[in-house]
């Protein structure tokens, strides 16, 4: 039945196509209204935007802000820091979230499963303003973690003041904060896997680990690919709140990222144009990565992400 290149659009087909258009229409309306119309604001990136002059009264400035951004003395370092931290968060975050989802799924004791799940999803909701003081207390030179290290005979680690370690602290604490909430989507993916596949594998004599490798993970693959692609689009956003509340000049070397840098520029003059230019760069990079990821997925597997 498939494969017949039937170019005739039967009335039934036309009618069902109409239904699909109808399903899209309400969402599309809001999309155009609230996402596309304000997109006009992107011209701010090419202007010397002055609030008093408004969007259409501000002077045209061409690529001035983009050029400025690229010739900042630290721009290379800042972008490197941003990508390192963002990638670290993405990779380790996904690994822990997926691993946790798989492990949690194995828990049979309902009460424990529900309780642990609820507990681990809570840190996501704590603001960094509050969490930062918890982190500085725990990881400070006199904090619990260092006390533990000295107790077992190791040297203290200067998490907050050593440029080499600081990104690790940022990545680690963020992974800790988010893994519970992120695991929700992977859990949903796991439960959507046909139990029949698991049964078949067990009957065939597969060990637990083999089952995970051959049934669970492949079943989760579409979602994993989707999340990877989505996370890639924010490769240039390393997380403002967290870093702002934890960094200090002594770790600017590896801790200063695009978000914090733009924020400090904004403090001196209200640099809306510059901020928009940076945002536009981020969007473009995100789009390139997303399209590449999609193309790669299409080539390697047989599906596409979107």
């Amino acid at each position: 039945m498939e494969g017949k290149s039937n170019k005739k659009r039967t009335p039934a087909k036309r009618k069902s196509e109409m239904s699909y258009h109808l399903m899209v229409f309400p969402g599309l309306f809001f999309l155009i209204l609230f996402s596309y119309i304000p997109m006009v604001g992107i011209i701010m990136a090419f202007q010397d935007f002055v609030p008093a002059k408004g969007l259409f009264g501000s002077e045209f400035a061409g690529l001035k802000h983009f050029l400025y951004m690229f010739q900042l003395p630290d721009i290379g370092k800042i972008i490197r820091n941003t990508v390192v931290i963002a990638l670290g968060k993405m990779i380790f975050g996904m690994i822990l979230a997926i691993a946790f989802a798989i492990l949690l799924n194995e828990i049979q004791v309902k009460f424990m499963k529900k309780t642990v799940q609820t507990i681990v999803y809570l840190p996501h909701f704590l603001s960094w303003v509050v969490l930062a003081s918890v982190v500085t207390n725990m990881f400070g030179l006199d904090g619990a973690v260092n006390q533990l290290l000295t107790a077992i005979g190791l040297d203290k680690i200067n998490f907050l003041g050593n440029s080499k370690v600081f990104p690790g602290l940022i990545i680690g604490t963020d992974v800790w904060k988010e893994f519970g909430y992120s695991s929700v989507i992977y859990l949903a993916a796991i439960t959507a896997i046909d139990p029949g596949l698991h049964e078949a594998a067990t009957i065939d004599g597969a060990s637990w680990w083999k089952r995970v490798w051959h049934v669970t993970l492949p079943g989760m693959l579409p979602i994993i690919l989707l999340m990877t692609a989505m996370n890639l689009t924010s490769i240039l956003s390393a997380g403002f709140d967290q870093i702002y509340n934890l960094y200090a000049p002594i770790v600017y070397e590896t801790g200063d990222v695009l978000d914090t840098y733009v924020y400090r520029i904004g403090l001196v003059g209200r640099q809306y144009s510059f901020g928009t230019a940076v945002g536009l760069c981020r969007s473009i990079v995100g789009m390139v990565l997303l399209l590449s990821a999609n193309a790669l997925t299409k080539k390697l597997t047989d599906r596409q992400i979107f």
């Binding site: 997109m39 609030p51 408004g54 400070g140 030179l141 003041g161 200090a248 000049p249 209200r270």
Partner: protein
Amino acid sequence: MRKSFLIKLTGIAAAASLLLAATACTSQDASSDVGNAGSTLSDTSSERGTIKVSIGRQTLQNVAFPDGDTYEDNAYTRMAEKELDIDITNEFEANGDDYNRQVSLALSAGDIPDMMKVGSLDELKELYENDLIADLTEVYEEYASDYLKSLYDSYEGRAIANVTLDGKMMALPGTNVDSGPSIVWIRSDWMKQLGLTLDEDQDKCITIEDLEMVAKEFMDKNPENADNVVGIAFAPWLTSGDPDGIFSMNSIVYALGAFPKTWMEKEGTVIYGSTTEEMKQALAVVSGWFQNGILDPQVGIRTWDDITALLANGQCGITFGAWHIPDWLLNNVYALNNNAVFEAYTLVDANGKVNCKHNDATAGYIVVSKDFSHPEIAIQIANLFYDSIVNSKEILENYPEVVDYITNGVDGSSRPFNIEVNSYTSLLDDYDDLERCLNGEITVEEVKTSEQRSNAISISAYLEGNADATGWSKYHSRLIGVELIQTLTENDQYSWLTPIFSQTTPTMETNFANLEKLEEETFIKIVTGDIDVESGFDQFVTSWYEQGGAQIIKEISEQLK
């Protein structure tokens, strides 16, 4: 298919632009002027009818209003409405920085309230350059009361000069009293316990060597047997552009003759204080402290909250900050240890002078929209709140609820204009009152401001031995802290610097954040010994000039011509 998509997209873009443009052009309809269109400036209220005034209000977090009063409708606004026959509505309200954002949004949408506060001179300039605000020169001349004028004049013209653009007065400025130097607060109960004395001539001045000595003693003898004692602790950014920089090394830097984060004039040229030789010396001193252990080994990562904890836990007995930190910072020390007492000192330079810098005379500006037809109302509101409330017994009799607000300390942000307008000498005038009251020369009722009245009562109670948290705080801030400023003024020991520039230039807007980053990064590395003082600092100065500093200095020099 693709073509039709492109057509659709262009259509959407066009529609979007039209939609936004249409609104950028429409100005807000005149919310003012209910009364006669032909009113002249000297109309009395009865002739012109109630005027609606919309105000942009910068609010404060969680102000406790009595009985359902709000920012829009409280004792102060009701008084203004009754006295001036106006009807106040708040166009928008927000706290702190959120307020500045609302101002930018309102501007972008092309529509500002009749009156609003703006936080910076840059915003004021922007409004002026785009012809959005009213020239207040005439109405100020004609309507401002003599007392109000005297308040501004006490700044020797600096206050009005800041808001005068091209010879026109474009805003009503809020004043900013000098808050004195970064006071060195030392635990005097510990000094007594260890048998140390400082400042025998009681002029409140000590030297850097004195400070080092005390820090060492405190660390060695550890009067409260705390774990992990610290001699001296600084915040991660080390210096501050405010003279009274809290937890900063400002006092040491000033004592060596440098003024960090300040634009100053030296031998005819503009220079940035942090790049001077004296700054290098100060860094040498402080990095020396780090080497020999006086300075906090965790400097650079010890946060503001952490330093507060050090003080509260009795791990550190020395700190630096403005005269008023006992009210809201050092009170944490008292909360955990009722026996803690501080004494206030200041560091002198080699000539026995206390270097200090004038604060910018103004902070916060009230602007009036160009379209508002009764700009004199702004002046009248100012008169009411900065003159009548203070001086007129009649006003206070007519508005008992305002008196209640004052006695109960309802925050001043509830007034229609959230700015302070005080005489330049108000801090010391208040102190004078307080001193005479405590000496018995005048009675409590004769003390001029109600805030100072309640301070006098708390401090008397404290001195008589009935200590409580407020008494302790006020004793330290209003008596000990301000006394130091008074002493220095009396003995003419100040050596004042007036910064020559405090706004922003175009290159500052783009490069200054980076220069600041360079400065803070370099300095903390110098202090912790990561880089050498001599070569590190020289390299910093060179880089500073290269990365925009030279250009900025050029621009400043241009503006000052």
